[in-house]
Symmetry: C2
Subunit: 221 residues, 2 copies
Amino acid sequence: MVTSTVEDYLKCILLEQPRGGGGLVSMGQIATALRVTNGTVTSMVKTLADSNLVTYEPYSGVRLTPAGLQLAGHVLRRHRLVELFLVKVLGLDWSEVHDEAERLEHVISERVVERMDELLGFPTVDPHGDPIPGPRGVVEEPDLPSLLLCPVKRRVRVARITDQSPEFLRLAEARGLMPGRIVTVSERDETADAVQLRREGGERISLGFRAASKVLVEPTS
Amino acid sequence: MVTSTVEDYLKCILLEQPRGGGGLVSMGQIATALRVTNGTVTSMVKTLADSNLVTYEPYSGVRLTPAGLQLAGHVLRRHRLVELFLVKVLGLDWSEVHDEAERLEHVISERVVERMDELLGFPTVDPHGDPIPGPRGVVEEPDLPSLLLCPVKRRVRVARITDQSPEFLRLAEARGLMPGRIVTVSERDETADAVQLRREGGERISLGFRAASKVLVEPTS
DNA sequence: GAGGTGATTTTGACCACTCAAAAAGAGTAG
DNA sequence: CTACTCTTTTTGAGTGGTCAAAATCACCTC
C-alpha cells in the first residue's frame, strides 16, 4: 500500500532532483524539505528502496526508479490540477491553494482527476505556471530564465513563480507579476542587489536579486 | 490533534446513535460499521473519552459529548457537501461519490467548504436526500416514513435513500427512485414480501420489503 | 597520512492504530 | 443458583512513522 507519506517522499525527491533526472538527492535535502529529521529520512528511504521506488546509495543519496518517477509524477499531477481547480472553479486565491492541494493530492481518485482535467480544459500549467504532468505522470520542466538572467530591455512574459509561499505570492500579485503578464527589465544593479522592471502599462517595479530569481519568464512571441 | 480516524469514529457514533441523541451506542455497532475488531473500538473509545469527545460507560456504550457532537457534525457536513459537489459540479454519479467523500471529508479546509456551500447555493440535502448539517455542525434528521410505512394509494415524493452502497443506488436510479420523484404505493403483500409502486407517468415497479424500507418519502404538498 | 567538520546512519524509544486470543462481565434459561 | 451464550475488555504483539542522541562515514585541509 502506498501511504500518503510515501507519496510525499517521492514527490519531494522528484522536485529536489536536478533537472534531467540523473542526479542523486541527499538525505539532508529531503529532511529539510519535509521538515523531518535526517534519521527519519534514512529509514524511510530504505523502505522506499525495498519497494523499488528509489535506488539508494548509502552516504550518497537517492534517485527515483521508473516506478517511483511515475508515481511521483501522478502525485504532482494531482497537486497541480487541484491547485488550478481551486483557483478557477472554487475561486480561492493562488496564495492559499498550495497547502490545500498538499492534502488533497493524496485522496482524490483518478475519476475525479479526469473530471477536473476535463472541466479545466486539459490545462498545461497551474496558477503559478508550474507545468502539470500528463495523465501518464510525465512532466517536462521547460528551462526558463528568471528576471535575473533574461535579456534586458526586451519585453518578456512572466511564465512561472518558483516560490509557493503565500507571502511571496501575495507580493507577486500586488506587483502584477502573475503568469501571462508582460514586463521589461530596464536595469540590473549588482551592488545594489536590485532589478528594475517596467510593467506593460508603465508601472515601475523594483525587486531584490533573490526575489527576481524566483520569477521565470519567456520571450514574447 | 484530531486525526481522521478520530473523525471517523465520531461520525460513526453520530450516525449510529438513536434519534434524539439520548441513547448509547455499543462497541459492537461501531466495530461493525467501521470494519474493525471489538477490542480496537474499546481502546479507541477510551481515548475519545479522555479527550472529552464521548462519555463512555463500560459494558454499556458511548454517547457523544457536545464537543464530540459538534465535531462529528462538521465531518458529516463536509461529507455531504462534498458528495453534492462531486455530483453537481464534477458530474460524478451519485453511486460513486460516497467513498470519495469518505476520504475528502478529512482534508478539506473550512475555506473550501464555504466556497462549495456558496457555489451550490447553500443546499440542505445531499444527492441521496441526507440532510447537510449547517455551518455550526448541527443536523436535524426529519422523521420520514419509508415506502413500507407510508400511506397506500397516495402520491408521495421520494425524499431520501438510506443505503449508500453503489449497488443499491444504481438500482434505485434504474427504477427512477431518486429524491424528488413522485410515486404511489399501490399495494403491499406481506407474505410475498413485495411492495408494488407506480411512478408518475405510469411505470410499475416492484420492490422487496427490505429494499422498500430504504426509500424514505414525504407527502406531496 | 592525521585531524577535524559536517552529513549520514544506527539505536532505542515513542505514539497512533490495529489484530488475535484470552479473560471477564452481563444476561438468560432452566 | 448454575450453566451457557454473547458481548466487552484486556493483553500482547505488530506496523508505520517519527525523534533524539550516539556512532559512523566521507571528505577537506594541513
